[in-house]
């Protein structure tokens, strides 16, 4: 279980932070399929197969990538939910709020980016 904060860089070059407490207290207990798989998180945040806006939000993005989870979830998507905020210095920083496995991309989310 990750205790320290982790820093990633997303597909647009923005910093993304995964707080250790989010991982330890929320993600690992509720979504153990992604626990101990920071490489999958890094890959999905840096080069997702799809980036969508979360339903009803322009500042929360959902990043999807396939083939990064261990079997038997190999064909499923890792879905990483990132909340972006602008700092007082004008920099946009993302914070991972959740991550889990899903079978498909949610068609109700508005697409933002595809490779």
């Amino acid at each position: 279980v990750v205790v320290r904060d982790q820093r990633f860089v997303d597909y647009e070059g923005r910093p993304v932070i995964l707080r250790g407490e989010v991982w330890q207290d929320h993600n690992c207990p509720l979504h153990p399929e992604v626990c101990n798989n920071l490489e999958a998180m890094d890959l999905t945040i840096a080069s997702p197969h799809r980036a969508n806006f979360a339903v009803g939000s322009m500042t929360r993005e959902v990043l999807y990538r396939r083939n990064v989870l261990a079997p038997p979830l190999r064909r499923d998507y890792l879905k990483v939910v990132v909340q972006y905020r602008e700092t007082s210095g004008g920099e946009t920083v993302g914070y991972v709020v959740s991550a889990y496995a899903v079978e498909a991309i949610d068609p109700q989310e508005a697409p933002k980016w595809t490779p």
């Binding site: 207990p29 339903v55 009803g56 959740s98 899903v102």
Partner: protein, 134 residues
């Protein structure tokens, strides 16, 4: 096509969910992600979410296709305003990222936004037998 969510299997899926022991279900709510989770049997098993629509996901054991939980994305922002009675789940939930006091304020805001619905449901709840006795 998803075997569990096709029309033919829908009733079976609902029946399976209803058969779960509610006493053993563990409910969690995380404010930052606005995610509500019901884990049947308190299961901590790895799973995958199958889309049910409107932010609802059925969590399945990938190897057995057995339902192990329900997940609701955007619970306060999206689901509760449409289904205010589901706010009761929060009274049963382990809370993360929000206090009981702050949650009470959120609940009042959501219920107030559905004022018309609450009044209508109240009228519909009037016992019919009071009139039948006339």
């Amino acid at each position: 096509m998803d075997p569990l969510t096709t029309r033919d299997r829908w009733l079976e899926t609902i029946a399976t969910l209803r058969a779960q022991d509610s006493e053993k279900a563990v409910i969690s709510y995380d404010y930052d992600s606005d995610e509500l989770m019901i884990r049947f049997g308190g299961s901590n098993r790895p799973g995958v979410g199958r889309l049910l629509g409107d932010g609802w996901l059925l969590r399945l054991d990938r190897e057995t296709d057995e339902p192990i939980g329900l997940q609701v994305e955007g619970f306060l922002a999206r689901t509760a305003p449409l289904h205010p009675h589901l706010l009761s789940l929060l009274d049963l939930a382990d809370l993360r990222g929000i206090t009981v006091e702050a949650l009470a304020i959120e609940r009042r805001r959501i219920v107030a936004a559905g004022r018309d619905r609450v009044i209508k449901e109240t009228i519909e709840a009037i016992p019919a037998r009071a009139f039948a006795a006339d």
